[in-house]
């Protein structure tokens, strides 16, 4: 298949491109910079891909993408922007969220109309659920985003579904939790814990850390994308490692991975407690998805990457 991947140089993008190239697909790697996606840490180098510079935040992206790609069989739309702070609701972030996540998705889909794609896979997020009390949460749960990011990613899903309906194209939205693994640079719970333990320090949590936060390793997330591309399923799927993880457990596990005999530091709770744990039954059933990376080994891998990066052997790269 000739597959267009947007956000190709991002954390998930690099894993997705590597996986699709290894599976024998012809990949067009689209990013703002037009750089060749670096292969993820620990994987063999030299990915043979066509790199294309397109900024989906601009109206000109539609023609640039259409002309740069020509015909394609599939679009994997991963390009999106997340504000630097987790769960941010800063109004100043909204213009860029609108441009990159909503209009950017519409532009990518508009360009896909001219490529003649038969399937589109879209990376969505657990943040679309927002104010949800059910654990584990299934795809049919009410969506009530608490952040502009969640609202804009949900609008991407809605436009994806409209596009699929109008164009007769199979469309799949994958709702991912936090994606971890070597290459991750986002300042949120797990990578922050790993950075702390890499420095020999104890990770810090807010409150009792009982809040549940799902995780998925980037390799598993990339595999879910491939399964969505080659299978015949359509619709919305939660993708995660299938296990509930409390923030406190994550912090303790990073200490164990680093072999440190320290205690997790507790800071006063700043935010209301929220539990997110995704049911992946639908993905198991309809996509044949089964998570392969155990959290402990995935964390050990990310820790090794962080240490290597600290030694300057392998820069963090990515976005």
């Amino acid at each position: 298949m000739r597959i267009v991947v947007t956000g190709a140089t991002g954390h998930l993008g690099r894993y997705a491109v590597a996986r699709l190239v290894r599976a024998g697909h012809d990949v067009v790697a689209v990013s703002r910079s037009g750089a060749l996606p670096e292969p993820p840490f620990g994987e063999e180098a030299a990915l043979s891909v066509q790199a294309l510079a397109v900024d989906l935040g601009e109206e000109s992206a539609v023609t640039a993408l259409g002309a740069g790609v020509g015909r394609a069989d599939a679009l994997v739309h991963l390009a999106a922007w997340h504000p630097p702070a987790t769960a941010s609701t800063d109004a100043r972030d909204r213009p860029r969220l609108m441009d990159d996540n909503v209009l950017g998705t519409m532009r990518a889909l508009d360009a896909a109309r001219t490529m003649g794609v038969e399937v589109v896979v879209y990376a969505s997020t657990f943040e679309v659920y927002g104010d949800v009390s059910t654990v584990p949460v299934t795809e049919g749960a009410r969506v009530r985003p608490l952040t502009d990011y969640g609202a804009t990613k949900l609008a991407g899903e809605d436009h994806l579904i409209s596009f699929g309906y109008e164009e007769g194209v199979r469309v799949v939205a994958l709702r991912f939790p936090a994606i971890y693994g070597p290459g991750e640079t986002t300042p949120r719970a797990l990578p922050n814990f790993l950075k702390a333990v890499a420095r020999g320090e104890a990770p810090a949590i807010f409150g009792d850390g009982g809040d549940l936060r799902d995780q998925v390793h980037a390799r598993d997330a990339a595999r879910a994308i491939e399964l969505a591309l080659v299978g015949g399923a359509s619709g919305i799927f939660n993708i995660a490692d299938g296990r509930p993880h409390s923030v406190a457990d994550l912090a303790a596990a990073t200490l164990a991975a680093a072999g440190l005999e320290l205690h997790v530091r507790r800071l006063p709770r700043e935010k209301e407690r929220r539990d997110y744990h995704l049911s992946i039954d639908k993905a198991r059933r309809e996509l044949g998805f089964e998570p392969e990376v155990e959290l402990a080994s995935g964390m050990a891998e990310q820790l090794a990457w962080l240490r290597a990066a600290a030694e300057g052997a392998n820069g963090p790269g990515g976005k």
């Binding site: 539609v62 213009p95 519409m106 508009d110 009530r144 502009d148 809605d158 436009h159 596009f163 309906y165």
Partner: protein, 323 residues
Amino acid sequence: MAAVLVTGSQGFVGQHLRRALEARNVEVIGVDRPGTAAEIEMDLADPAFDAHALSARAGRADGVIYMAATITRSSAVDAVARRNLRAIADAAVSTFEAFARQGAHFVYCSTYKTYGPAQGPIDPEHPPQRPDPHSYGAAKSLAERLLEVSARRESAHYCVVRPTCIYGPGQHINNAIPRFLRASWDGEQPVVYGTGQDVRDDVLAGDLAFCLAEACLRRETGAFHAAGERARTIWEVAEQCALAVAAVGGPSGQSPVLAPDQAPKWWLDQEFDLERSRELLGYEPTPLLEGLKMEAEWVRDGAPPQGTTRYCPPPRFGGRGPA
């Protein structure tokens, strides 16, 4: 005297809303596209739209009723859809934020197209989600979600009114009701696409204007329906159109005819709970036949785009009268 900013003031519903507000002794600060003769001519779909500049030009406003919207009839993702989305969602939230700071009560006119399939009448406060697979519902859903995030952040209040299919003098003449009325005037049988059994709900533009005006002036929060007295099959609506034309002096005895090969691709049979609108807004829908008689006279006169409210009786009040 209270002042209310109305975006989309020169459009179909805007004309009816202006009249409803003026009858309540409210000054209308209309906002619409350049060339529309609105009090403030501004393009809300312009990426450079500045809500603070709008607020500065408008001066003091006690309320904002945000209706500006264009229905995208082409692709859900093309340049037209992207432009329309800016006015429907992006500019709406920034307008809400700019006016919330001066205490103006914000009412957002959304749509039933934000709803997914449902069993039984839909409660506006707990709606089934998944917008229609079209850009209009998707853009309105986005606006509602961004408003919710923004209101929580700003500790500000707002209200959403979701109309069903809006009809009445001034509506787009290619829609089903004006087509049925035109055919009846021409002594032809109104053509109903599909099986005729699709269930729909039609709300008169003046009734929607009533709900928007009351929601704004009463500073209501939460979500309301602006719907008709009950949902009907499209076949029934066509029959009522023929009756309405006959009742205002047109030809009589035209029964509808089916065009089964032109069935709508997408339709959800939905019903809408009006309890909250009745209780908190004092809303009572106009019977369909009465509303259709108003529109029938408008169609008879060649469907003029302006002066549409003269086909309607004076605005009603929700038990409160002029402010």
